[in-house]
Subunit: 224 residues, 2 copies
DNA sequence: ACAACGACATACTAGGCGGTATGTAATCGG
DNA sequence: CCGATTACATACCGCCTAGTATGTCGTTGT
């Protein structure tokens, strides 16, 4: 949902020195640069249309180096999912589990997302959702990895809701699994559809709707 | 959401006669076959990865014929959106507007979708959502067409909800625009995410959650 | 110091892609 | 019946892409 990736990015060409003679080698850094630039390129173009040459140019790495670190484009894609996409997704929802009141935490995230919606995020959407849509039907390796990330997310939210039901911050007459699936679907669906509109109006409306839904999950104790 | 397209499909090769000599020409039919086969191929592979040769083979049409009817691959894609995707999406939601009770009609559609979820639909997702995710950031022509379809859908549901509020079948204290955005986001989001899971469990949970949400939109007249 | 291995760099290849040039047969207006 | 035009069919082209072969230079263990 967030733009991200912009954080790490650097002016592409200065990423690494003019090479050629007497350069210090930093295989770990090279690998990280490849992963990050690949993530950005995949975010913009999708995995299949992501050009290795473009990744090479933006990272300042050569083809020989790439194929030294990754056996194939597919292997690079898997590594991006495992080492960039997964931590990125988990950083989004895991904090909510730690919060005392799940609904408050979720509402805060909604508002944060609605506020921080960058041009880039609205245009290119959620990298996780993009990859699911593009690659899940086509490649088992992608599907299993993405499925695992989604599974953890889904189960995590379920646990959070159940905990809320236990400590009295969430209504007890709702089905945690259904609520979790609805929340996640709405979140990913709205960023996806926002790509069609050039304005954030639709996304904002969906977020406001989701906020109202979250409010409705609070236990109604009118008279104490 | 629905598998669709399977309806029209025919055994690819027998689609048209062995051609060669003395064939009747049917330009309209040829065009329709191209559109339908292109829709199927795009549904499976996405637009950019859709191979013209594959479309040609499945439709039994030659490249010369294709470029006679459509000036480019992009033009073919636009025509698919205008003449196949748009009617397909509208056929899904327009009936709901005609119903007396919107909530009942929407619930019926939810259950219908959850029941009719075919292998293909779960695997390849919603053609409309797929195209938005893939092409909206990349091509203005696609974006404007898809945006228009989404806009009509969104506005249509808003009108339906307002009408429901007017005739007393929907609570008056909800914001129609937000509710519409949430419903559509959830629907498209859940089919999208279902592609990651190979099982329909997540999609079903989201649908049940949406049903519960729709129920909550009914006016609560406990004691008449 | 030197060998061996790791970390790159460069040049090249094969295949698939959208698109085009050109030919030919059916259809149609007069 | 006859040109003109529509509706195809076939062969080909140039580009871009993932991938590879091979060479070279740092780095490291002994």
């Amino acid at each position: 949902m967030k733009a991200s990736a912009a954080n790490h990015s650097m002016s592409p060409q200065q990423a690494r020195a003019p090479t050629k003679a007497g350069v210090r080698r930093q295989p770990d850094l090279t690998r990280q640069q490849l992963l990050q630039c690949a993530f950005d390129e995949i975010h913009r173009s999708g995995f299949r249309a992501a050009s290795l040459d473009a990744i090479l140019e933006s990272s300042g790495v050569t083809k020989g180096a790439l194929y030294h670190h990754f056996g194939s484009k597919t292997a690079l894609g898997y590594a991006v999912v495992d080492e960039v996409v997964r931590p990125w997704v988990e950083a989004l929802w895991k904090p909510i589990l730690e919060a005392g009141n799940v609904i408050d935490a979720a509402l805060a995230l909604c508002r944060e997302l609605a506020r921080a919606r960058s041009e880039q995020a609205l245009q290119y959407g959620c990298p996780f959702n993009n990859l699911i849509n593009e690659m899940s039907p086509l490649d088992r390796g992608f599907r299993e990895r993405l499925q695992h990330i989604l599974h953890d997310w889904h189960e995590g939210v379920i646990v959070g809701i159940r905990r809320g039901q236990a400590n009295g911050s969430v209504r007890k007459d709702v089905d945690a699994e259904q609520v979790s699936a609805l929340i996640i679907s709405t979140a990913e669906g709205s960023v996806g559809l926002a790509k069609a509109k050039q304005s954030p109006a639709f996304f904002d409306a969906a977020m406001r709707g989701l906020e109202a839904y979250l409010e409705s999950l609070r236990p109604l104790r009118a008279a104490p």
